[in-house]
């Protein structure tokens, strides 16, 4: 049987693929290739990964498989064993037509990926992700108080991302990680909605998000909730050219390089 030629699309990831670097590297729109194209993601030189990267890779896979109905994707895992394990935990289970270059098995247990990168197609998916998070927190020995906050945060962020991502070809993605003896938890949602990131006044709009004192939105409420539960909660919003860093005492927006869509990162720590 003759081998079918697949037009390649190459994606090279090196260094720490986290936050803006992950969004820029993974979600940038590439050149158009044929319907049977293969995407090869070279991650050998990756030295770090986070929840944002997990969600962004998941979205890149989704986009590739949607645009290339006969295509496939090959991931060359990071050379660094810990980074490779973390990345694969976040991507587990791999969708069909996505393979690892070395054919290794995906990790059976998850130490880092509290909630693997998951596409959120509707509100039910958001609820299921929260339910999964509750079980995962129990397994990861995260206290019940924090587990409840984590679960409701996942559900609210995912719901919010769904509202922002209307009209986008791909749904938002959510991922959560847990690290260290203190069980530091980070949750990220990434959506490709253009309503905020593509606006010329994106920076001003983000700056005008009400802070903890006056805000009656979920994020302001979450910061207040953290204070009442003695939890350290911090929020980052990355959208277009705007970056908002928000804690109980700080609410600061700065300009930075453009990235597509809107990413919200919440850290919920003891």
């Amino acid at each position: 049987m003759a081998m079918k030629f697949r037009e390649p699309e190459l994606l090279s990831l090196s260094g720490p693929i986290t936050r803006e670097r992950a969004l820029d590297a993974l979600l940038r729109v590439g050149p158009a290739v044929g319907a049977a194209a293969e995407l090869a993601m070279f991650a050998e030189e990756m030295t770090d990964v986070d929840a944002v990267a997990g969600a962004a890779v998941r979205l890149r896979i989704c986009r590739h498989l949607r645009e290339h109905t006969d295509g496939q994707m090959t991931i060359v895992p990071p050379r660094d064993a810990l980074v490779a394990e973390r990345l694969l935990e976040l991507l587990s289970p791999l969708p069909e037509r996505v393979v690892l270059s070395d054919g290794r098995a995906m990790p059976e247990e998850s130490r880092y990926g509290l909630v693997p990168a998951t596409l959120i197609a509707d509100g039910d998916d958001a609820r299921l992700a929260a339910e999964f998070a509750l079980e995962a927190c129990e397994h990861a020995r995260v206290s019940e108080v924090r587990a409840n906050v984590i679960a409701v945060t996942i559900m609210e962020l995912a719901d919010n991302a769904l509202a922002h991502a209307t009209g986008t070809p791909d749904p938002p993605a959510v991922a959560a990680t847990v690290t260290g003896r203190e069980r530091f938890v980070e949750i990220a949602t990434v959506d490709l909605g253009a309503g905020l990131s593509e606006q010329s006044d994106c920076l001003d709009r983000v700056r005008q998000i009400p802070g903890t004192k006056g805000g009656n939105g979920f994020l302001a409420h979450l910061i207040r909730k953290g204070a009442s539960r003695e939890l350290q909660i911090s929020i980052e919003i990355i959208t277009g050219v705007a970056r908002l860093r928000w804690t109980a005492t700080r609410h600061r927006t700065v300009r930075a390089n453009y990235v597509p869509g809107t990413t919200v990162i919440v850290r919920i720590n003891p």
Partner: protein, 206 residues
């Protein structure tokens, strides 16, 4: 609707009204929908159940026992249904109970956003969330009296009657106070206000 509690204090205090009307509670058990409650669609389903609840019940109780997490869009649907249910059946108490700290927080956020005060049963006591702080003080005094006339409560709180009536209206809208004509009034029309017994409500929880 007249309260059935505190026969001993009633005997000692002629201003306390007691009757033996049997209490029937309609309980909506949220736990039946799972420990994690999300989506506006599920909220709308629960809201329908709230709207269709037995109007002849003494109290409608939303029992959150066993619910670990609830999203704000879902609670928003429920809060709106509770509000309209109280408006439709002002002689019935409507109380949320069995809430853990997280669900209570989110419910409070939603109630504040909507500008709606709600009654919750927490730690064997009734509270009002989403309203001004003085409502909590008024409810606490009302709870001590159980069944009362407006002048009695005004005296206890050292308030003028018009001010007290404002608060009573808000507590009625929160579903934690009902009122009825006092048939024992010798002249004119007199209203009797009533608050539920937290212990009675708690018996209906999971």
């Amino acid at each position: 609707m007249i309260n059935t509690r505190r026969p001993t204090s009633a005997a000692a205090d002629p201003l306390v009204y007691v009757s033996a009307v049997s209490l029937k509670h309609h309980v909506v058990r949220l736990r039946d929908r799972g420990p994690v409650l999300g989506t506006r669609a599920l909220g709308a389903e629960i809201a329908s159940e709230v709207r269709a609840s037995d109007p002849s019940a003494t109290a409608l109780i939303l029992d959150f026992t066993g619910v670990r997490v609830a999203s704000s869009p879902l609670l928003d649907e429920i809060v709106c249904a509770v509000r309209s249910s109280i408006a439709d059946h002002p002689d019935r108490y409507v109380v949320s109970a069995g809430l853990n700290a997280d669900v209570l927080d989110t419910l409070e956020l939603v109630a504040e956003r909507r500008g709606i005060a709600l009654a919750v049963l927490q730690d064997d006591r009734l509270h009002v969330i989403g309203g001004k702080a003085h409502l909590e003080e008024t409810l606490a005094a009302a709870q001590e009296l159980a069944t009362f006339t407006a002048p009695q409560l005004a005296e206890r709180l050292a308030l003028k009657l018009p001010n007290l009536h404002q608060r009573l209206l808000q507590l009625q809208a929160a579903g934690v106070i009902t009122r009825a004509d006092d048939s024992s009034a010798e002249r004119g029309r007199r209203l009797l206000f009533d608050t539920p017994d937290p212990g009675e409500l708690a018996k209906s929880l999971c």
